[in-house]
Protein backbone atom coordinates (compact mmCIF):
# COMPACT_ATOMS: atom_id res chain seq x y z
CA UNK A 1 0.00 0.00 0.00
CA UNK A 2 2.50 2.51 -1.17
CA UNK A 3 1.17 5.35 -3.31
CA UNK A 4 4.60 6.66 -4.26
CA UNK A 5 5.50 4.73 -7.46
CA UNK A 6 3.04 6.54 -9.71
CA UNK A 7 4.44 9.97 -9.11
CA UNK A 8 7.94 8.61 -9.53
CA UNK A 9 7.12 7.18 -12.93
CA UNK A 10 5.81 10.52 -14.05
CA UNK A 11 9.21 12.09 -13.46
CA UNK A 12 10.62 13.22 -16.81
CA UNK A 13 14.21 12.09 -16.33
CA UNK A 14 15.22 8.43 -16.14
CA UNK A 15 15.26 7.23 -12.54
CA UNK A 16 18.65 7.46 -10.99
CA UNK A 17 19.90 5.53 -8.03
CA UNK A 18 22.84 7.72 -7.24
CA UNK A 19 21.93 9.94 -4.29
CA UNK A 20 22.54 13.64 -4.59
CA UNK A 21 26.01 14.52 -3.49
CA UNK A 22 27.71 11.29 -4.58
CA UNK A 23 30.66 11.93 -6.91
CA UNK A 24 29.62 11.10 -10.48
CA UNK A 25 32.57 12.61 -12.28
CA UNK A 26 36.10 12.25 -11.00
CA UNK A 27 39.09 13.62 -12.84
CA UNK A 28 42.48 12.52 -11.56
CA UNK A 29 45.91 13.86 -12.55
CA UNK A 30 44.78 14.67 -16.07
CA UNK A 31 47.61 15.71 -18.36
CA UNK A 32 47.48 16.71 -22.00
CA UNK A 33 49.93 18.36 -24.38
CA UNK A 34 48.65 20.05 -27.51
CA UNK A 35 50.80 21.53 -30.24
CA UNK A 36 53.98 20.85 -28.26
CA UNK A 37 52.72 22.67 -25.17
CA UNK A 38 51.44 21.06 -21.98
CA UNK A 39 47.95 22.52 -21.57
CA UNK A 40 46.66 20.40 -18.69
CA UNK A 41 49.29 19.61 -16.09
CA UNK A 42 47.57 17.28 -13.66
CA UNK A 43 43.98 18.43 -13.22
CA UNK A 44 42.06 17.01 -10.25
CA UNK A 45 38.36 17.70 -10.04
CA UNK A 46 35.33 15.98 -8.55
CA UNK A 47 31.77 16.78 -9.52
CA UNK A 48 28.87 15.53 -7.46
CA UNK A 49 25.47 14.38 -8.58
CA UNK A 50 23.10 17.27 -9.25
CA UNK A 51 25.52 20.08 -8.60
CA UNK A 52 26.55 22.96 -10.83
CA UNK A 53 30.27 23.49 -10.94
CA UNK A 54 31.50 26.72 -12.48
CA UNK A 55 35.01 26.59 -13.92
CA UNK A 56 36.77 29.91 -14.33
CA UNK A 57 40.23 30.69 -15.62
CA UNK A 58 42.16 32.93 -17.97
CA UNK A 59 41.66 32.83 -21.71
CA UNK A 60 43.63 29.99 -23.27
CA UNK A 61 44.26 28.18 -19.99
CA UNK A 62 42.59 24.98 -21.21
CA UNK A 63 38.99 25.12 -20.02
CA UNK A 64 37.52 24.06 -23.36
CA UNK A 65 40.14 21.34 -23.67
CA UNK A 66 39.15 20.08 -20.22
CA UNK A 67 35.46 19.89 -21.19
CA UNK A 68 36.32 17.99 -24.34
CA UNK A 69 38.26 15.45 -22.31
CA UNK A 70 35.19 14.77 -20.20
CA UNK A 71 33.32 13.69 -23.35
CA UNK A 72 36.27 11.68 -24.58
CA UNK A 73 36.73 13.99 -27.58
CA UNK A 74 40.39 14.25 -26.59
CA UNK A 75 42.46 11.38 -25.25
CA UNK A 76 44.62 12.47 -22.31
CA UNK A 77 48.34 11.74 -22.20
CA UNK A 78 47.86 10.40 -18.67
CA UNK A 79 45.36 10.49 -15.83
CA UNK A 80 41.84 9.19 -15.51
CA UNK A 81 38.27 10.39 -15.83
CA UNK A 82 35.65 8.30 -14.09
CA UNK A 83 32.05 8.90 -15.07
CA UNK A 84 29.54 7.13 -12.83
CA UNK A 85 32.34 4.73 -11.96
CA UNK A 86 33.62 3.96 -15.47
CA UNK A 87 37.03 5.15 -16.60
CA UNK A 88 36.39 6.69 -20.01
CA UNK A 89 40.03 7.29 -20.81
CA UNK A 90 40.49 3.55 -21.26
CA UNK A 91 37.50 3.17 -23.56
CA UNK A 92 37.43 2.72 -27.30
CA UNK A 93 35.61 5.38 -29.29
CA UNK A 94 32.82 2.89 -30.06
CA UNK A 95 32.10 2.29 -26.38
CA UNK A 96 32.08 6.00 -25.63
CA UNK A 97 28.89 6.55 -27.60
CA UNK A 98 26.81 5.05 -24.81
CA UNK A 99 28.39 7.41 -22.28
CA UNK A 100 27.97 10.41 -24.56
CA UNK A 101 24.25 9.83 -24.83
CA UNK A 102 24.01 10.84 -21.17
CA UNK A 103 25.68 14.16 -21.97
CA UNK A 104 24.70 17.40 -23.58
CA UNK A 105 27.43 19.78 -24.60
CA UNK A 106 27.22 23.41 -25.60
CA UNK A 107 30.33 24.20 -27.64
CA UNK A 108 32.03 27.56 -27.26
CA UNK A 109 31.59 28.26 -30.97
CA UNK A 110 28.09 26.70 -31.09
CA UNK A 111 29.27 24.10 -33.68
CA UNK A 112 25.87 23.85 -35.36
CA UNK A 113 25.71 21.61 -38.41
CA UNK A 114 25.50 24.21 -41.13
CA UNK A 115 24.12 21.88 -43.75
CA UNK A 116 21.03 21.28 -41.60
CA UNK A 117 18.13 23.47 -40.55
CA UNK A 118 17.78 24.63 -36.97
CA UNK A 119 15.04 22.04 -36.41
CA UNK A 120 17.25 19.20 -37.69
CA UNK A 121 20.10 20.43 -35.53
CA UNK A 122 17.99 20.52 -32.39
CA UNK A 123 16.37 17.15 -33.00
CA UNK A 124 19.65 15.47 -33.99
CA UNK A 125 20.05 13.41 -30.82
CA UNK A 126 16.35 12.47 -30.88
CA UNK A 127 16.56 11.40 -34.50
CA UNK A 128 19.63 9.32 -33.82
CA UNK A 129 18.91 7.76 -30.46
CA UNK A 130 15.19 7.80 -29.76
CA UNK A 131 12.17 6.09 -31.26
CA UNK A 132 9.95 9.15 -31.03
CA UNK A 133 7.55 9.96 -33.84
CA UNK A 134 8.19 12.99 -36.09
CA UNK A 135 5.29 14.84 -34.44
CA UNK A 136 6.68 14.24 -30.97
CA UNK A 137 10.12 15.37 -32.07
CA UNK A 138 8.74 18.53 -33.65
CA UNK A 139 6.91 19.26 -30.42
CA UNK A 140 10.15 18.89 -28.43
CA UNK A 141 12.08 21.06 -30.90
CA UNK A 142 9.44 23.80 -30.63
CA UNK A 143 9.48 23.63 -26.85
CA UNK A 144 13.26 23.75 -26.52
CA UNK A 145 13.55 26.63 -28.98
CA UNK A 146 10.89 28.54 -27.09
CA UNK A 147 12.80 27.96 -23.85
CA UNK A 148 15.93 29.58 -25.29
CA UNK A 149 13.83 32.47 -26.59
CA UNK A 150 13.88 31.58 -30.29
CA UNK A 151 10.40 30.55 -31.37
CA UNK A 152 9.83 30.23 -35.10
CA UNK A 153 13.38 29.79 -36.36
CA UNK A 154 12.96 26.05 -37.05
CA UNK A 155 13.39 26.29 -40.81
CA UNK A 156 16.31 28.70 -40.88
CA UNK A 157 19.87 27.59 -41.54
CA UNK A 158 22.65 28.42 -39.03
CA UNK A 159 24.25 30.85 -41.50
CA UNK A 160 21.12 33.00 -41.27
CA UNK A 161 21.42 33.44 -37.49
CA UNK A 162 23.41 35.91 -35.39
CA UNK A 163 26.18 34.69 -33.11
CA UNK A 164 24.04 34.86 -29.99
CA UNK A 165 21.16 33.08 -31.74
CA UNK A 166 23.47 30.27 -32.85
CA UNK A 167 24.64 29.88 -29.28
CA UNK A 168 21.06 29.52 -28.09
CA UNK A 169 20.16 27.04 -30.82
CA UNK A 170 23.21 25.04 -29.78
CA UNK A 171 21.94 25.13 -26.20
CA UNK A 172 18.54 23.89 -27.37
CA UNK A 173 20.33 21.06 -29.19
CA UNK A 174 22.33 20.18 -26.09
CA UNK A 175 19.24 19.89 -23.89
CA UNK A 176 16.94 18.30 -26.49
CA UNK A 177 17.38 14.71 -25.33
CA UNK A 178 17.18 15.55 -21.60
CA UNK A 179 20.75 14.52 -20.74
CA UNK A 180 21.93 13.70 -17.21
CA UNK A 181 25.03 15.85 -17.59
CA UNK A 182 25.37 19.21 -19.24
CA UNK A 183 28.66 20.81 -20.17
CA UNK A 184 28.33 24.48 -21.00
CA UNK A 185 31.26 26.26 -22.64
CA UNK A 186 30.62 29.96 -22.07
CA UNK A 187 26.82 29.80 -22.34
CA UNK A 188 26.26 33.56 -21.98
CA UNK A 189 29.10 34.91 -24.12
CA UNK A 190 27.71 37.04 -26.93
CA UNK A 191 24.24 37.37 -25.40
CA UNK A 192 22.61 40.57 -24.23
CA UNK A 193 22.23 40.95 -20.44
CA UNK A 194 18.58 39.94 -20.41
CA UNK A 195 19.11 36.86 -22.54
CA UNK A 196 22.11 35.98 -20.36
CA UNK A 197 19.84 36.04 -17.36
CA UNK A 198 17.29 33.86 -19.15
CA UNK A 199 20.02 31.30 -19.85
CA UNK A 200 21.18 31.47 -16.22
CA UNK A 201 17.64 30.77 -15.06
CA UNK A 202 17.46 27.87 -17.49
CA UNK A 203 20.67 26.38 -16.13
CA UNK A 204 19.33 26.66 -12.58
CA UNK A 205 16.00 25.18 -13.59
CA UNK A 206 17.54 22.19 -15.33
CA UNK A 207 19.62 21.60 -12.24
CA UNK A 208 16.81 21.85 -9.73
CA UNK A 209 13.91 20.26 -11.59
CA UNK A 210 15.69 17.61 -13.66
CA UNK A 211 18.64 17.18 -11.29
CA UNK A 212 21.07 17.63 -14.15
CA UNK A 213 24.71 17.66 -13.15
CA UNK A 214 26.36 20.60 -14.85
CA UNK A 215 29.78 22.02 -15.50
CA UNK A 216 29.77 25.60 -16.66
CA UNK A 217 32.82 27.32 -18.09
CA UNK A 218 32.29 31.05 -17.99
CA UNK A 219 33.94 34.45 -17.83
CA UNK A 220 30.64 36.01 -16.77
CA UNK A 221 30.80 36.59 -13.01
CA UNK A 222 27.14 37.55 -12.71
CA UNK A 223 26.28 34.22 -14.28
CA UNK A 224 28.70 32.35 -12.02
CA UNK A 225 27.18 34.00 -8.95
CA UNK A 226 23.73 32.94 -10.03
CA UNK A 227 24.23 29.34 -11.11
CA UNK A 228 27.22 28.01 -9.17
CA UNK A 229 27.03 25.55 -6.31
CA UNK A 230 30.77 25.38 -6.37
CA UNK A 231 33.48 27.20 -8.26
CA UNK A 232 36.87 26.00 -9.42
CA UNK A 233 39.68 27.98 -10.94
CA UNK A 234 41.98 26.59 -13.60
CA UNK A 235 45.34 28.30 -13.89
CA UNK A 236 48.58 27.17 -15.51
CA UNK A 237 47.07 23.76 -16.23
CA UNK A 238 45.95 22.87 -12.69
CA UNK A 239 42.94 23.58 -10.49
CA UNK A 240 44.42 26.08 -8.07
CA UNK A 241 41.29 26.76 -6.08
CA UNK A 242 37.82 25.47 -5.47
CA UNK A 243 35.17 26.56 -3.03
CA UNK A 244 31.60 27.82 -2.73
CA UNK A 245 30.74 30.95 -4.72
CA UNK A 246 30.42 33.02 -1.54
CA UNK A 247 33.93 32.12 -0.47
CA UNK A 248 35.28 32.50 -3.98
CA UNK A 249 33.97 36.02 -4.36
CA UNK A 250 35.37 36.92 -0.96
CA UNK A 251 38.62 35.03 -1.49
CA UNK A 252 41.91 36.53 -0.43
CA UNK A 253 43.82 34.38 -2.93
CA UNK A 254 45.38 37.04 -5.14
CA UNK A 255 44.88 35.30 -8.50
CA UNK A 256 41.27 34.41 -7.73
CA UNK A 257 40.41 37.83 -6.38
CA UNK A 258 41.90 39.65 -9.33
CA UNK A 259 40.05 37.32 -11.67
CA UNK A 260 36.61 37.67 -10.12
CA UNK A 261 37.00 41.42 -9.78
CA UNK A 262 38.40 41.72 -13.31
CA UNK A 263 41.58 43.66 -12.44
CA UNK A 264 44.74 43.75 -14.53
CA UNK A 265 47.91 42.88 -12.65
CA UNK A 266 50.62 45.46 -12.02
CA UNK A 267 52.86 43.80 -14.63
CA UNK A 268 50.08 43.94 -17.21
CA UNK A 269 49.53 47.62 -16.43
CA UNK A 270 53.24 48.26 -16.96
CA UNK A 271 53.11 46.49 -20.33
CA UNK A 272 50.50 48.97 -21.47
CA UNK A 273 51.44 52.18 -19.71
CA UNK A 274 55.17 51.61 -19.44
CA UNK A 275 56.89 52.57 -16.18
CA UNK A 276 54.27 55.27 -15.63
CA UNK A 277 51.71 52.58 -14.73
CA UNK A 278 51.22 53.99 -11.27
CA UNK A 279 50.78 57.46 -12.64
CA UNK A 280 48.31 56.22 -15.24
CA UNK A 281 46.22 54.68 -12.51
CA UNK A 282 46.38 57.98 -10.69
CA UNK A 283 45.37 59.94 -13.78
CA UNK A 284 42.41 57.62 -14.20
CA UNK A 285 41.34 58.42 -10.67
CA UNK A 286 41.75 62.15 -11.10
CA UNK A 287 39.77 62.06 -14.31
CA UNK A 288 37.01 60.32 -12.51
CA UNK A 289 37.05 62.94 -9.78
CA UNK A 290 36.94 65.79 -12.28
CA UNK A 291 33.97 64.37 -14.14
CA UNK A 292 31.27 67.06 -14.12
CA UNK A 293 28.55 66.41 -11.58
CA UNK A 294 25.21 65.28 -12.99
CA UNK A 295 22.93 68.21 -13.74
CA UNK A 296 20.45 68.95 -11.03
CA UNK A 297 17.00 67.45 -11.66
Amino acid sequence: MNPAPESQEAAPAAPREIPKGAPVLEIRELRKSLGGKEVLKGVNLTVRQGEALVVIGGSGCGKSVLLKHILGLFKPDSGSIHIEGEDITQMHERDLFGIRQRFGMLFQGAALFDSMTVADNVSFALDEHSKKSPAEKLEIVRKKLAIVGLPGVENKYPAELSGGMKKRVALARAIAADPHFLLYDEPTTGLDPIMSDVINELIVKLKTSLRVTSIIVTHDMASARKVADRMAMLDEGVIIYHDTPENTFASDNDIVRRFVEGKASMEQMKEIWGESAGKAQESENTRRRRRPPPPAQ
Binding site: K68, L71, G72, L73, E93, R94, F97, G98, R100, Q101, F103, M105, F107, G109, A111, L112, F113, D114, S115, F124, A125, D127, E128, H129, R173
Partner: protein, 263 residues
Protein backbone atom coordinates in the same frame (compact mmCIF):
# COMPACT_ATOMS: atom_id res chain seq x y z
CA UNK B 1 67.00 17.35 -43.27
CA UNK B 2 63.78 17.44 -45.18
CA UNK B 3 65.30 20.29 -47.18
CA UNK B 4 68.20 18.09 -48.24
CA UNK B 5 66.01 15.09 -48.92
CA UNK B 6 62.62 16.29 -50.11
CA UNK B 7 61.93 12.80 -51.46
CA UNK B 8 62.15 11.21 -48.03
CA UNK B 9 59.64 13.63 -46.53
CA UNK B 10 57.28 13.11 -49.44
CA UNK B 11 57.50 9.32 -49.16
CA UNK B 12 56.94 9.38 -45.39
CA UNK B 13 53.91 11.58 -45.85
CA UNK B 14 52.51 9.33 -48.59
CA UNK B 15 53.02 6.25 -46.42
CA UNK B 16 51.35 7.94 -43.46
CA UNK B 17 48.38 8.89 -45.63
CA UNK B 18 48.18 5.38 -47.03
CA UNK B 19 48.13 3.94 -43.51
CA UNK B 20 45.47 6.43 -42.42
CA UNK B 21 43.35 5.71 -45.47
CA UNK B 22 43.61 1.98 -44.86
CA UNK B 23 42.52 2.36 -41.23
CA UNK B 24 39.64 4.54 -42.36
CA UNK B 25 38.66 1.84 -44.86
CA UNK B 26 38.47 -0.75 -42.08
CA UNK B 27 36.37 1.55 -39.92
CA UNK B 28 34.10 2.36 -42.85
CA UNK B 29 33.57 -1.33 -43.56
CA UNK B 30 32.71 -1.83 -39.90
CA UNK B 31 30.28 1.09 -40.04
CA UNK B 32 28.72 -0.34 -43.20
CA UNK B 33 27.93 -3.53 -41.30
CA UNK B 34 26.04 -1.58 -38.64
CA UNK B 35 23.10 0.79 -38.82
CA UNK B 36 23.22 3.10 -41.83
CA UNK B 37 22.42 6.82 -41.62
CA UNK B 38 18.98 8.11 -42.56
CA UNK B 39 17.97 7.74 -46.18
CA UNK B 40 17.91 11.50 -46.71
CA UNK B 41 21.62 11.77 -45.90
CA UNK B 42 22.41 9.03 -48.41
CA UNK B 43 20.20 10.44 -51.16
CA UNK B 44 21.87 13.83 -50.77
CA UNK B 45 25.33 12.35 -51.32
CA UNK B 46 24.20 10.22 -54.25
CA UNK B 47 22.81 13.35 -55.83
CA UNK B 48 25.90 15.48 -55.15
CA UNK B 49 28.45 12.88 -56.15
CA UNK B 50 26.60 11.17 -58.98
CA UNK B 51 24.14 13.49 -60.63
CA UNK B 52 26.13 16.68 -60.26
CA UNK B 53 29.23 15.08 -61.77
CA UNK B 54 27.47 14.00 -64.96
CA UNK B 55 28.17 17.10 -67.10
CA UNK B 56 31.88 17.08 -66.37
CA UNK B 57 32.19 13.34 -66.98
CA UNK B 58 30.18 13.45 -70.22
CA UNK B 59 32.26 16.31 -71.57
CA UNK B 60 35.46 14.49 -70.73
CA UNK B 61 34.24 11.28 -72.37
CA UNK B 62 32.96 12.97 -75.52
CA UNK B 63 36.11 14.94 -76.28
CA UNK B 64 38.42 12.09 -75.38
CA UNK B 65 36.59 9.81 -77.82
CA UNK B 66 36.66 12.42 -80.56
CA UNK B 67 40.33 13.33 -80.23
CA UNK B 68 41.23 9.66 -80.06
CA UNK B 69 39.41 9.10 -83.36
CA UNK B 70 41.20 11.99 -85.04
CA UNK B 71 44.62 10.86 -83.83
CA UNK B 72 44.13 7.18 -84.69
CA UNK B 73 42.69 8.06 -88.07
CA UNK B 74 45.86 9.97 -88.99
CA UNK B 75 48.01 6.98 -88.09
CA UNK B 76 45.79 4.27 -89.55
CA UNK B 77 45.27 6.06 -92.86
CA UNK B 78 48.89 5.39 -93.76
CA UNK B 79 48.35 1.64 -93.55
CA UNK B 80 44.85 1.81 -94.97
CA UNK B 81 42.97 0.36 -92.04
CA UNK B 82 40.77 3.34 -91.11
CA UNK B 83 37.89 0.97 -90.47
CA UNK B 84 39.78 -0.09 -87.33
CA UNK B 85 39.63 3.38 -85.78
CA UNK B 86 36.27 2.66 -84.15
CA UNK B 87 37.65 -0.48 -82.55
CA UNK B 88 40.67 1.35 -81.20
CA UNK B 89 38.52 4.14 -79.79
CA UNK B 90 36.07 1.80 -78.10
CA UNK B 91 38.69 -0.55 -76.64
CA UNK B 92 40.79 2.36 -75.34
CA UNK B 93 37.77 4.08 -73.85
CA UNK B 94 36.38 1.01 -72.13
CA UNK B 95 39.65 -0.40 -70.85
CA UNK B 96 41.63 2.66 -69.81
CA UNK B 97 40.55 6.13 -70.76
CA UNK B 98 36.98 5.88 -69.51
CA UNK B 99 37.83 4.62 -66.01
CA UNK B 100 41.03 6.64 -65.53
CA UNK B 101 39.86 9.97 -66.90
CA UNK B 102 36.53 9.69 -65.09
CA UNK B 103 38.48 8.88 -61.94
CA UNK B 104 40.77 11.85 -62.36
CA UNK B 105 37.89 14.22 -63.07
CA UNK B 106 36.01 12.94 -60.02
CA UNK B 107 39.14 13.28 -57.90
CA UNK B 108 39.10 16.95 -58.77
CA UNK B 109 35.39 17.58 -58.51
CA UNK B 110 34.16 15.20 -55.85
CA UNK B 111 37.37 14.66 -53.89
CA UNK B 112 38.04 18.35 -53.39
CA UNK B 113 34.49 19.06 -52.31
CA UNK B 114 34.39 16.15 -49.86
CA UNK B 115 37.65 17.31 -48.27
CA UNK B 116 36.54 20.93 -48.15
CA UNK B 117 33.22 20.03 -46.57
CA UNK B 118 34.51 17.58 -43.97
CA UNK B 119 37.56 19.76 -43.38
CA UNK B 120 35.42 22.80 -42.67
CA UNK B 121 33.27 20.73 -40.36
CA UNK B 122 36.30 19.52 -38.46
CA UNK B 123 37.88 22.96 -38.01
CA UNK B 124 34.55 24.45 -36.90
CA UNK B 125 34.11 21.67 -34.30
CA UNK B 126 31.13 20.18 -36.13
CA UNK B 127 32.87 16.82 -36.24
CA UNK B 128 33.40 17.06 -32.48
CA UNK B 129 29.74 18.02 -32.14
CA UNK B 130 28.75 14.86 -34.02
CA UNK B 131 30.83 12.77 -31.67
CA UNK B 132 29.45 14.66 -28.68
CA UNK B 133 25.96 13.77 -29.92
CA UNK B 134 27.02 10.12 -29.79
CA UNK B 135 27.22 9.71 -33.56
CA UNK B 136 30.25 8.35 -35.35
CA UNK B 137 31.61 10.75 -38.00
CA UNK B 138 32.70 7.66 -39.94
CA UNK B 139 29.16 6.40 -40.12
CA UNK B 140 27.54 9.78 -40.64
CA UNK B 141 30.02 11.52 -42.95
CA UNK B 142 32.35 8.97 -44.49
CA UNK B 143 30.06 6.02 -45.16
CA UNK B 144 27.48 7.84 -47.35
CA UNK B 145 30.21 9.46 -49.44
CA UNK B 146 32.16 6.25 -49.88
CA UNK B 147 29.02 4.30 -50.75
CA UNK B 148 27.98 6.89 -53.33
CA UNK B 149 31.45 7.02 -54.88
CA UNK B 150 31.85 3.23 -55.05
CA UNK B 151 28.43 2.66 -56.60
CA UNK B 152 28.25 5.66 -58.90
CA UNK B 153 31.77 5.91 -60.35
CA UNK B 154 31.25 2.80 -62.53
CA UNK B 155 27.97 4.22 -63.79
CA UNK B 156 29.61 7.54 -64.61
CA UNK B 157 32.43 5.64 -66.29
CA UNK B 158 29.98 3.70 -68.45
CA UNK B 159 28.38 6.97 -69.45
CA UNK B 160 31.79 8.38 -70.39
CA UNK B 161 32.53 5.20 -72.39
CA UNK B 162 29.26 5.48 -74.30
CA UNK B 163 29.58 9.15 -75.22
CA UNK B 164 33.28 8.64 -76.02
CA UNK B 165 32.50 5.85 -78.43
CA UNK B 166 29.62 7.86 -79.87
CA UNK B 167 31.91 10.86 -80.32
CA UNK B 168 34.55 8.71 -82.01
CA UNK B 169 31.93 7.25 -84.32
CA UNK B 170 30.62 10.68 -85.16
CA UNK B 171 34.10 11.84 -86.16
CA UNK B 172 34.91 8.67 -88.12
CA UNK B 173 31.66 8.16 -89.94
CA UNK B 174 30.40 11.73 -90.05
CA UNK B 175 33.51 13.67 -90.91
CA UNK B 176 36.27 11.28 -91.94
CA UNK B 177 34.01 9.19 -94.19
CA UNK B 178 34.86 5.80 -92.72
CA UNK B 179 32.34 3.24 -93.90
CA UNK B 180 29.72 2.67 -91.18
CA UNK B 181 29.41 -1.06 -91.80
CA UNK B 182 33.09 -1.92 -91.30
CA UNK B 183 33.44 0.55 -88.50
CA UNK B 184 30.55 -1.12 -86.70
CA UNK B 185 31.65 -4.73 -87.34
CA UNK B 186 35.20 -4.10 -86.16
CA UNK B 187 34.03 -2.28 -83.09
CA UNK B 188 31.73 -5.11 -82.03
CA UNK B 189 34.43 -7.63 -82.79
CA UNK B 190 36.97 -5.98 -80.50
CA UNK B 191 34.73 -4.80 -77.68
CA UNK B 192 34.60 -7.49 -74.96
CA UNK B 193 32.15 -7.81 -72.10
CA UNK B 194 35.05 -8.79 -69.85
CA UNK B 195 36.80 -5.50 -70.58
CA UNK B 196 33.68 -3.52 -69.81
CA UNK B 197 33.39 -5.41 -66.52
CA UNK B 198 37.04 -4.82 -65.65
CA UNK B 199 36.62 -1.14 -66.46
CA UNK B 200 33.68 -0.93 -64.08
CA UNK B 201 35.51 -2.82 -61.34
CA UNK B 202 38.52 -0.56 -61.67
CA UNK B 203 36.41 2.57 -61.53
CA UNK B 204 34.68 1.30 -58.41
CA UNK B 205 38.09 1.02 -56.78
CA UNK B 206 38.96 4.52 -58.00
CA UNK B 207 35.74 5.83 -56.46
CA UNK B 208 36.64 4.15 -53.18
CA UNK B 209 40.13 5.65 -53.22
CA UNK B 210 38.83 9.13 -54.05
CA UNK B 211 36.20 9.20 -51.31
CA UNK B 212 38.43 7.61 -48.66
CA UNK B 213 41.42 9.85 -49.34
CA UNK B 214 39.22 12.93 -49.42
CA UNK B 215 37.46 11.99 -46.19
CA UNK B 216 40.76 11.17 -44.50
CA UNK B 217 42.28 14.51 -45.48
CA UNK B 218 39.11 16.29 -44.39
CA UNK B 219 39.03 14.64 -40.97
CA UNK B 220 42.71 15.46 -40.45
CA UNK B 221 42.58 19.07 -41.59
CA UNK B 222 44.81 21.55 -39.79
CA UNK B 223 42.92 24.44 -38.19
CA UNK B 224 42.03 27.49 -40.26
CA UNK B 225 40.88 28.30 -43.76
CA UNK B 226 44.40 27.75 -45.11
CA UNK B 227 44.32 24.26 -43.59
CA UNK B 228 41.15 23.42 -45.51
CA UNK B 229 42.64 24.63 -48.79
CA UNK B 230 45.82 22.67 -48.20
CA UNK B 231 43.90 19.53 -47.32
CA UNK B 232 41.77 19.80 -50.47
CA UNK B 233 44.84 20.18 -52.68
CA UNK B 234 46.55 17.24 -51.02
CA UNK B 235 43.43 15.12 -51.36
CA UNK B 236 43.23 15.76 -55.10
CA UNK B 237 46.94 15.15 -55.72
CA UNK B 238 47.04 12.03 -53.55
CA UNK B 239 43.96 10.46 -55.07
CA UNK B 240 45.16 11.18 -58.63
CA UNK B 241 48.43 9.42 -57.86
CA UNK B 242 46.57 6.56 -56.19
CA UNK B 243 44.32 6.21 -59.24
CA UNK B 244 47.23 6.05 -61.68
CA UNK B 245 49.32 3.63 -59.64
CA UNK B 246 46.44 1.36 -58.67
CA UNK B 247 45.30 1.33 -62.30
CA UNK B 248 48.56 -0.36 -63.25
CA UNK B 249 48.30 -3.02 -60.56
CA UNK B 250 44.60 -3.62 -61.12
CA UNK B 251 45.17 -4.04 -64.84
CA UNK B 252 47.90 -6.62 -64.21
CA UNK B 253 45.74 -8.38 -61.63
CA UNK B 254 42.67 -8.60 -63.85
CA UNK B 255 44.76 -9.79 -66.79
CA UNK B 256 46.04 -12.64 -64.63
CA UNK B 257 42.53 -13.41 -63.41
CA UNK B 258 40.86 -13.60 -66.80
CA UNK B 259 39.26 -17.03 -67.08
CA UNK B 260 39.77 -19.11 -70.23
CA UNK B 261 36.11 -19.47 -71.13
CA UNK B 262 35.88 -15.76 -71.88
CA UNK B 263 37.18 -15.12 -75.33
Amino acid sequence: MTGALPGVAAITSILRTAGGVFTLLMETVRAALGKWPRRRVLVEQFYLIGFRSTPVVLTTGLFTGMVLAVQSFNQFRRVNIVSMVGAVVSVSMVKELGPVLTGLMLAGRVGASITAEIGTMSVTEQVDALRALATSPIRWLVLPRVAAAVLLTPILTLMADVVGIAGGTLICVGFLKVEWHFHYINMLDWLKVWDVGVGCAKSSVFGLLIALTAAYKGLNTEPGAAGVGKAATEAVVTSCILILTSDFFLTVMFAAMKPDWIR
